[in-house]
Subunit: 139 residues, 12 copies
């Protein structure tokens, strides 16, 4: 079972800045842990460019996608349309509890076309999404 993890803008900074909030681990280091922990084929990609995320979604061959679209969550209809066009189930995740931040982060163009959404648990948000795919796959 193949799962693609796709990260949006500014998420390449995780682990490099604000370690008191997000810890010292980069996504690559956490990703290595997940690869050994889960019985899943995992890939990881990141882009700051909205249209490249559209491309990553269109070209995916995975059985499931975990998507943290970052700031594009709130502004991109193009990413929404890409999710609708492909037939792969997508789970939306966020590190922080977005509803407790600025009001322009409360609206999401993406959630209605995803299977579901997990947010507010830091890096655990990704693991919870992987648990879901694992549990569905085992049924």
């Amino acid at each position: 079972m193949q799962i693609d993890i796709i990260n949006g803008p500014n998420l390449n900074l995780i682990g490099q800045r604000e370690p008191s909030i997000y810890g010292n681990l980069t996504f690559d280091e956490v990703f290595a842990q997940w690869k050994s922990e889960f019985k899943l084929q995992l890939s990881l990609s990141q882009s700051n460019i909205e249209g490249e995320i559209v491309g990553l979604l269109q070209n995916s061959k995975a059985d499931g996608i975990v998507l943290n679209a970052g700031a594009y969550t709130h502004t991109s209809i193009a990413i929404r349309d890409a999710i609708s066009a492909i037939k792969i189930p997508v789970i939306e995740v966020h590190l922080s509890n977005v509803t407790a931040r600025e009001s322009f982060r409360h609206e999401s163009f993406i959630t209605p076309v995803c299977v579901g959404c997990v947010f507010g648990f830091g890096m655990e948000s990704y693991r919870m999404a992987l648990h879901y795919f694992l549990s569905k796959g085992s049924i």
Copy 2:
């Protein structure tokens, strides 16, 4: 580690009606499975009355709470205030992807004062929340 699962209005009907959507299992039957699967002290309660849910939150002695406030999610400031007043971490869950339903289900009074939110995965939403508490407890 003690976790309280609290369900709000109309969730007592799960398993009795609309089995094609929610399956044939009642909450009590699923709850029995979770008790054997997870290394957690689990309790389950349900009420149709907003003020009784306020009471369940105030009187909880648990280390964590999984709350599906149902329709009160969108109308109850009293439940929000109860969550703020107690010091126990609360995870909000929903069976369905609420953002893909009527617009009055898009707003939640409760999310900003919870740790995080999981929705859209049916009964799996609860299990993902339990995974989080288990994983935090084991750190």
Copy 3:
């Protein structure tokens, strides 16, 4: 043919206060008249508590329900969800012409999931709803 009449908050005061507006008859007295007038099995219940009205709807065994949810008409998604969950046809009634009162009484969460709505005719609103059930039953 069994019809349940369910009244919401403050409707227990009818007949006791403001007789110049609503007459001297209590709901119990009017109800006795309806019982002798209509060829229907009739029951009457009232509650000030939103969650109890949810319960009355869930537990109903009637062929039709006449519901005056009072103030909860405008604030309760829980009652709406209960109406959607049960398979019994519900008619919404109000004594007054709610659209000619304060603007917060113009919105109803309940109307879209009811068969229809009758309002503005005082106690006659209930009788018109009973006429409808009678007329449907006779077809």
Copy 4:
């Protein structure tokens, strides 16, 4: 006792189109039934033109009016003003449950100046209104 039934735009199509929804009977055929059923003087008129409905209201000599203003319900202040100007009680009726349709059908300029409103019961909506006039007249 004289009652005028006034129908607005597109209601002349009833019985001719979409019989699966509205039945095969035209308004004229249903009207003939009502004439024999009710002890009331009944007249029936229809117009697609907003200003002509204003005229029908101004010129009415009836003791009561049953008005289905159709689409003008949501856009016509002129019809509202005509209802206010005449001293005849008007009951607003609709075939469908307008609150479950598009949002621009949720607002009505007319309801606040009518006695009351009945909607969602198909052709029964008209009969329920006639029952009200009959019941008021017999008191």
Copy 5:
């Protein structure tokens, strides 16, 4: 002269939690002080349940009511209707300056049907309301 003090949801926690903000005194302890200080018959009740507060208002035999409806201030039309239905003057009080908190606490369904409103003075808000009843009674 009889005055009823009615408290809404979560106000039973006062004195038990967050003593740095609200002090160490429970409502019962403060209430004992007021009873000796004021030449008034005083009663005190609390409920987390909206419909029970409606009942407390309906059943009151007092000459005046001091009501802190807590979170229901902003969501309950039922409590508003109960205040309108009874003929007893009601003063709305709040411990905190609600206008300096979240925007959903800025609207009150209750204020327009009360005599007046006192908020922002902690426990003093209640005493100021009692002063008003005392002063009116003495005129």
Copy 6:
């Protein structure tokens, strides 16, 4: 100098109904007075139909128009477009102070394309508009 006075829906009722508000004089009677008082060629027309008012404006040969569009003031872009298309100066008048009535009467589609507006003076509103044309003509 030719001036056309054009009245919209329900204004044919003036003088027939609500004499305590608008006096006993019909428009025809007042119009006769104006004809003898003012050194102007005056014509008077009225219609309840929006499209006919469009036609009256299109076909006018006058040097100025006094228009009371009644309820269409607030709903008709068609009348606005007709005023824009013709080259004759139009003054908007109303009998009542529309800003002190319902909020849907506060917006006017017509005012921005008129020379100016006079309202709130009863029948005097028309006379003041005629004074303006007279005064402009004499310059």
Copy 7:
């Protein structure tokens, strides 16, 4: 193949006024050109009255309709309902780019129930719509 062209209010003025914008040709003259150019049965009608346009739509026997509803585009639910009720495909056209004009011309009640919309190309808008019908008919 029969196509009806229906024009709304003020469009009878085209060719008579503002020739610098719309040219010197009236609709009748342009219509004559189209009749010789297109292999289509063409009819042309115009009305300033909303309800008459409803009637033109109801009574049409055409295979397709090209509708320029003018100002009623933005205010008429009645015309929308007529389009929905008939089974003939309707194309909405406008001479100007309505989105670059006043904001009240940006909303259209009619577009969602039409096949599509063409605007901003002057008289060419009509020809493009006719090309579509021709091209569909030839498939």
Copy 8:
């Protein structure tokens, strides 16, 4: 009969600037004309300060007031309250057609408490208001 004309902020510049729009006459010069033309006791005052206009209204001994509150028309509740408090009829005037200017000039706090409003006629707006007082006085 005494009439006070009160002008608000920036109206002292009339006649000094933008003569192509407002002419070369200052208010004082026009005022002198009016004094000889009308059989009325006339006074003229102006202030740039909102609170001084409140004072001018409070201290007026006139039988009628013509008020051009200028920019305060759209922002001053204080002036509205002063008009309500005094018993003298006030007519609101403006030189320009305010509805054809920026949207923040479309709302007026003052109009609902005035007798009526005249705008869009330049200096003629004042004369039309004076005509009204004269005509009322002569009845």
Copy 9:
């Protein structure tokens, strides 16, 4: 302990007009009563001019301020800024229940930067505020 009472626009009319509502006493007369009743140094000032109220606040040397900003409550950010800039606690008072009046009186720029607010009790509103300062001072 020094308390400044500051009144805003139109409050100088109290006692002179509408005695049936506000009584026959002027502020000066009531103020004399308060001076003998309360063990407080009291001063009283009033202005119709927004900027002068800003000055009164800036120049105050009191231990507390009771402010009735009248109409400026709803329009003045300048007064809000003055309250924020000084370090003296300010209590907002109003004679009437402002929430039961026009909607533009429901918003207050001032409340969030005051200690609290008392309204709806007529002249008693001031006395209740003075009681608060007295009670705080004695602690």
Copy 10:
């Protein structure tokens, strides 16, 4: 005469997915048909990246552009600015009737700066735009 056709995000999927809706032809295949059918120099380009579409517009040497900006239609001011900056006429096209889809697709940043707009006709939308350029060129 040179015409550039520019397609935005996700339009590269046409012909590959959902053939029941959009047919089996890719844009390249349809484009080949157009090249032989129209006496026009045609070019075709596509990008998922907003900024690249800005570049395609800036660098165009064509006499006209047919632009389907896809999801960027509703979110991109940058593309709007590029259209404004170049002097080439642009026609906006869409495959579907966007007004009958989600509300966030109803607003377009681009339409006001285009010549006109054609939507709802599938691939025919492009051909109708090409007809317009051909017809203008031939005049």
Copy 11:
């Protein structure tokens, strides 16, 4: 070259209060520095009264004005009108980044009629504006 600096309400407090934020220098002290630094004729004035700022603008004889209207920025159309009426270029300045403060400070009536705006740089905001005038004068 003469430049007038005009300050609005509460800006007289700068240097006296909150020195940790704004420093210990009063406007007069900073102004003395600017006078020696810049080759400009400089004047400085301040008022808490809206109408006086209108007067300062009307009476200015300068070649340019630097205006910090403080709180009146967001509420005063009168000041806007004064800026429009005079022919002197005005630059709007603010000490703080107003967009990062409360939402009612985000709107400015004044900016659209100024040359430009500088804010967020503390006292430097004024110097940057003076640099602009100097640089323009030297061209």
Copy 12:
């Protein structure tokens, strides 16, 4: 001291088009002037792609950044997040007075996380920002 100047979409066209508005100088030519005028290390970059501007900000090693994000100012939360994540002070600049243009240019996602903002002065806006960095550096 190193300052990076970053320009967003369409700003590469400056100097090539609309010289009557922006002059004949390209950014490169003006930039050369600034390099010789200011004692600062200056770099200049431009991109039409939102995600590339995110990258330019993330990778900057400068002591300060002058950012003209062009159209992305109003739509990009991603750029805002990048500014928040880096620790370098950013000044927002615009050539034109954006508040005097279309309303969708009035909101900025970026301003609240910048030091300040300068707009409306053409190329001078950049120089004023550089003056600020120079002046801060010299303190």
